[in-house]
Amino acid sequence: MIQSANDIVCDTVVQANICIVGGGPAGITLALELAKTGKSILLLESGGEMPSADTQALNAGEVADERLHSPPDRYRQRVLGGGTSIWGGRCVPFDPIDFNNRPWIDHSGWPISYDEVERHYAAANTWCEAGEYEYDARLATPGGMRPVLRGFAPLHFDTNGIERFSCPTNFGDRYRARLRSAPNVRVLLSATVTRLRAARDGSRIDSVDVRATQDNSFSVTADQFVLAMGGMETPRLLLTSDDVHAGGIGNANDLVGRFYMCHIAGTIGSLRVNGASDAVWHGYDLAADGTYCRRRIALRPTAQASMGLGNAVFRLHHPRIADPRHGTGPLSAIFLAQRFISYEYAKRLVSDVPPSYRTWLRHGMNAVIDSPSTARFLFHWLKARTLADRKFPSVIIRPRTNLFSLDFHAEQVPNPDSRIGLGSGVDRFGNRQIRVDWRYGRQDVETVAKSFDLLSQELADQSIGRLSLASDEIDIETVVRRDGAYGGHHIGTARMGSGARSGVVDRDCKVFGVNNLYVAGSSTFPTSSQANPTLTIVAMAVRLAKHLGRVVTQVPSIQEAVS
């Protein structure tokens, strides 16, 4: 059943066995997995079925350095489906090394093993509609995928790992019918949770306060509560709920909101590949199940360990769109159409400085001179992206010459000083807005710089091509600062730890010291990996659902105990 919270009478107390706060990928997966237990599930989503400016304004907040981090109301959606409503669909599992305690990375190591997450990736792939759980390029497609660079057999990089692409699946659209038809699931839209109400001794959450968009307020009692609100709202709500727990729930050791990580990502350098153009394949292959798959060039764990680096991957990319010197019509057409591209994607497609009239003109000329390519690109985009349900994942344009740039996507190491806190402004419900103080460190820059150098060396040694940096990219830190925190990946702000001194939640994602409060989502990840977080968010949600399923069948509900 899906209802609007505006239909709930003021001061009502709504009851459920399990209350999930947040209707994004984690919340929806949890609700539908937990529906199998037969217990009553209540899913509270702040947004509606469609985005609204008023609700989206609840995401507003401050950023310490706006050059490094996007505003907090960007890349976050208050709508059923949450972030998946603007998701690109890239699915990649974490690597085993991500879970290890790595001596060269402070605060690394998860209290759970890779295997405990890995066993849920197949289910996560299904939820994300990313096809089979097969991430080896040699097995993912019939006959194996084409090599990125023919003949390239690097010592320090693995080229057989792949990323698979979801449709991309908007969890709100895709699973709305199932949420509606599940007899024991109730979804309340326009229901913003404003406070967690802890019991007097702080050992459990008694209820949560909820405000609807029409300002009627009510409360929810449940046996178990799960916060699935994303990496920014989760610390915000924990910190705001400070009436019993001074400093906020789960924050006895001042860890809530700290260790905020995104990814260090961007586009860098130019790679001129030797030989014929068919020696390079930087596009997608189709798996038998119809999923788009793409190879990556991943820094091996041995190289990470020997050089003291974080995890990182590279992909071959077209030249920077904003620079008209590429002379490619389709890229210039994208540049010219930037006003029609959403902020979240346009930010990385176009220039970080306002283009001059001369730049506009040169892009216009590219589009005209290379108009056959532009027309072919637009037709393909219309057919394979706009009109398709399983969408062609990204812009793939084969350069006229074998000249590419490199996309990098690197781990950001945990840093207690990088944090989400409470700012000075308040939202319309009177709650303090967030303040984002994202910071990168020396090790983050080194991961990109040294792995780039290593790749450059191996490409040269094997006579594959020449990888070089532009004059304004020689200092890699300028590139890191130019692209800033990767949008939409909000990680680590309620990290999992082996004890309350090192984490906010335990190995079961339960908040330390609070017996019935759990956190789902990337805020619990102690480290960020090279991988985009959504697949692991869903895998962890499946894992949490299994744990909660055991909890709710073993522990009598409050209603049962009272009766």
Binding site: A177, A288, D289, G290, D389, R390
Partner: protein, 322 residues
Amino acid sequence: MPDSIDYSRKPVLILGASGFIGSRVAAALERSPVYRPIAASRRSMVRVDATNLQSVLGALRDVDCVINCVAGKESTMVRATQVLCEAARSLPPRRIVHLSSMAVYGAATGTVTEDHVPVAPISGYGRAKIACEEIVGRYVSDGGDAVILRPTCVFGPGSTQWTTRLARLLQAGRLGDLGTVGDGCCNLAFIDDLVAAIVSALDAPEISGRIFNISSPAALTWNQFLMAFGKALHATPIRRIPARMVKIETKLLAPFRRVGSKVIKAPWTVAITPSLTALFQQDIWVDSAAARSALWLAQTPPDQMIAAVIRDDRIKKERALS
């Protein structure tokens, strides 16, 4: 046909023996040391008009059991059941094994056992099957001996409805990953399991008057099944079919394809009907626990069902044609 007839075997009349299920039952009984099939239809050697009382009476006199597999038009199915029960009433008792369908549950959702009431809307086919069951029920109330089986979608080599049709649509890229449209439970009954259950029902004790669901064990969605079947057929890469394309197929193209199918049998005349897509979305899980217990129903897993179909020559020809 055997060279000589073994009269020590129990004679069993199969009405509708030229159909997919009837022919498979006849073949199974032919191999049985216990039963002797008398395969009757309008086209077989034993010609019986199932809608004609005298014709059925004549065929019924010398048999111990009857299996009613008559398919076809709704009115034909109802009339044949009426005639069968009327003929059986005028003769000494003998068991009727009547084939019904999961269509009797209509739009029911959730786990469905045999006592589940039909839920509207119910298709014309489903209403006819309900009418047939009522006729058989009255026959049992009057002292007759009958068992009703409700198979789900019967899958297996030779099934035009649920095997060849789906294979053609998958190979044409008109079925595949259906997204929300394919989220319903895929209830398949493997033909060999169904035939074995029919044979068990001929003599199983203390089941007269009972009804049994016949289905597979796996909790699959239609999307999962279609993906697996498509891959086995090498109808890859499996296409994601947009919901709007499904609408166009069912609302716009299906009538034209149906008309075309009267003229020519080709992949492009196979219609994706509204009732088919409604079934793909129906969250119904048909529970066969009663048949497992009373009829020793074996439930072949989906991968083995698909493997059996892929080995079949008819599907090989279809694949070659595509």
